[in-house]
Assembly symmetry: C2
């Protein structure tokens, strides 16, 4: 049995496992068993990457993420820039224009001051480039051995235009599935750094702020139902979430998905499936089929969407079922990530 | 020389110390040397406990706090309820009506699932009682030894009424300094739990959501200049921040400050000054002297303000200087907390 189809191990887990932070099955289980029973409300229950609410007649989006990536610095970014990109992207996936961030640091006693300075400067630069301001913050320090260098939480606030209604429960049979570019680069960049792997062509993280790409897409077509950035758990987990929340099936085509040769090579070496590897500068869009080409064209005009293409479609098969037609023409199930393939990837 | 007047140790620190998370001098230094140079903007530079911004014509407040309190459960609360009260209070100190929270958990591998469940249920109950909803969240897991059970970040959003303008830079000579009740209970409750101390009369944390008290105060008088909750670093650090930001002096009267006998006893035993011990359910108000009695009366009608009283006044002495007239009639300087008197108190 592959990891993709094996049932969750029994008996019931009574301890937190690394896999509970993977963005896959165990994360979903934690949500279902612990968080939702206690905290349930209509906004949280949507399980989107951001909550949209009205305050004083204005529609706003709010999203939060803690960053525990290891190592702190990697090819193509660091925990500071990632903490901006990740939260800006979660706002963008709700169609929101990112406005403000909070930044809260948990530092481990003994952290080099210079490391904190470099991370803070990188965070500040990423925020400037994304056009958002860090307006409030917090710092806590824990004893040596009670943390790991530094963790950052960023929470973001954005403005949601009146007509925009994006959610993972809006996919309909017939919709096109669009992916903005090649996959797996962030996860492989982190793993390479962590394991000291060297590739002929080095792999850098794709970490980037996607809100200007999203703005172009929303300007090009009104038929966008849902946007998601396939981070932890990769493309597979994101598609599973959408299929489950929209109660639809999704079929994707392996041929349509770009995996750069160096990423493919690293995945083969490490025994990873690129569909499960994290991205930090890519998005998946579920779009009215009549407008899919217009959306792809708009995306390709943007530097972060040059590799955009339609990778599959939404169907009326078993709700929650995601399948892929391989390059060989066979069809297999694409399940959510199970276990802890890549802990601390973001 | 007492810890209250000794200069910062030299040479320049190149590593993070526990004291950098104390809310005292080292925290201020980190802000001045690392965070502000990189992130400076008019909203952050105010150094209030919350940022107030306008979005689409609506005034909102945003605040963030990470909670790393140790132990997770203590008399009078736990990390879950504290994570709600702390953030609700930071919104309330800006005069905002708290609306929504995000909650982001960093879990250590091996944490008992039951601990997470209890904390989450407590957080949910505190949110219900405070009338706020948790609308978005995040969970990360770090390896055993890279965290310490669980850390929680909560970020809050509130609505700021049009006429409300509260900030630590608005204190004026002549203003009254009001304190809402007895001090030091949260810090002593945590220390007692941590050190296994037993007192004849047990000390419980004062952890509570103060926004309804603030609403009564704002309804009673328009002359409130500034509200602050004296958490990390205690009353002394809060008064120093206000004096510094408003470029005024502040004089308080020891006789006017209530310290419960069991807290006083514990402080003497532990060599602590109650003025430096954290509170989680108290506030300090700087108020137009003509309206101070009205504010105190309004506070005393609220269960969380029963012990309210005027404890001092703002003066035109050296900017940033805080002094106390002791019970014996002598006057001494009340400096910011220096060092790491009580790490991980919230």
């Amino acid at each position: 049995m592959s990891i993709f189809t094996c049932p969750l191990p029994l008996p019931a887990r009574d301890r937190i496992l690394l896999g509970h932070g993977s963005g896959g099955k165990l994360s979903a289980e934690l949500m279902r068993d612990i968080f939702l029973p206690a905290l349930s409300n209509p906004m949280l229950d949507r399980l989107d990457d951001q909550a949209v609410f009205a305050a004083g007649g204005v529609r706003l989006a709010m999203t939060t993420d803690s960053f525990v990536v290891k190592p702190l610095f990697f090819r193509g970014g660091d925990i500071g820039s990632l903490a901006v990109h990740g939260t800006v992207n979660d706002l963008a996936m709700g169609g929101a224009t990112p406005l403000y961030l909070s930044a809260a640091f948990i530092l481990e006693e003994g952290l080099a001051m210079d490391t904190l300075r470099r991370v803070t400067e990188s965070l500040a630069q990423a925020a400037r480039e994304a056009g958002v301001r860090v307006i409030t913050g917090d710092t806590k320090v824990v004893e040596k051995g009670s943390g790991d260098g530094l963790f950052i939480n960023t929470t973001g606030i954005g403005l949601v235009p009146e007509r925009v209604e994006l959610s993972a429960d809006r996919a309909k049979p017939g919709d096109a599935v669009i992916l903005s570019g090649s996959i797996g680069e962030h996860g492989i960049a982190i793993l390479a750094e962590r394991e000291g792997l060297e590739f002929e062509t080095p792999v850098g993280s794709d970490s980037a702020a996607l809100h200007t790409l999203v703005a172009e897409m929303l300007a090009a077509a009104r038929g966008i139902r849902c946007l998601r950035d396939p981070t932890r758990g990769g493309v597979s987990s994101t598609l599973n979430e959408i299929a489950r929340q929209s109660k639809v099936s999704i079929r994707i085509e392996e041929r349509a998905i770009t995996v750069r040769p160096e990423v493919q090579g690293a995945c083969e070496l490490l025994g990873l499936d690129p569909l499960y590897v994290a991205n930090e500068g890519k998005l998946i869009a579920i779009v009215d089929p009549a407008q899919a080409e217009a959306v792809v064209s708009a995306m390709r005009r943007h530097p972060l969407g040059e590799g955009a293409g339609i990778i599959g479609s939404v169907g009326d098969g078993p709700p929650g079922l995601v399948t892929i037609r391989t390059a060989l023409g066979t069809v297999r199930i694409v399940d959510m990530l199970s276990g802890d393939q890549l802990p601390r990837i973001c």
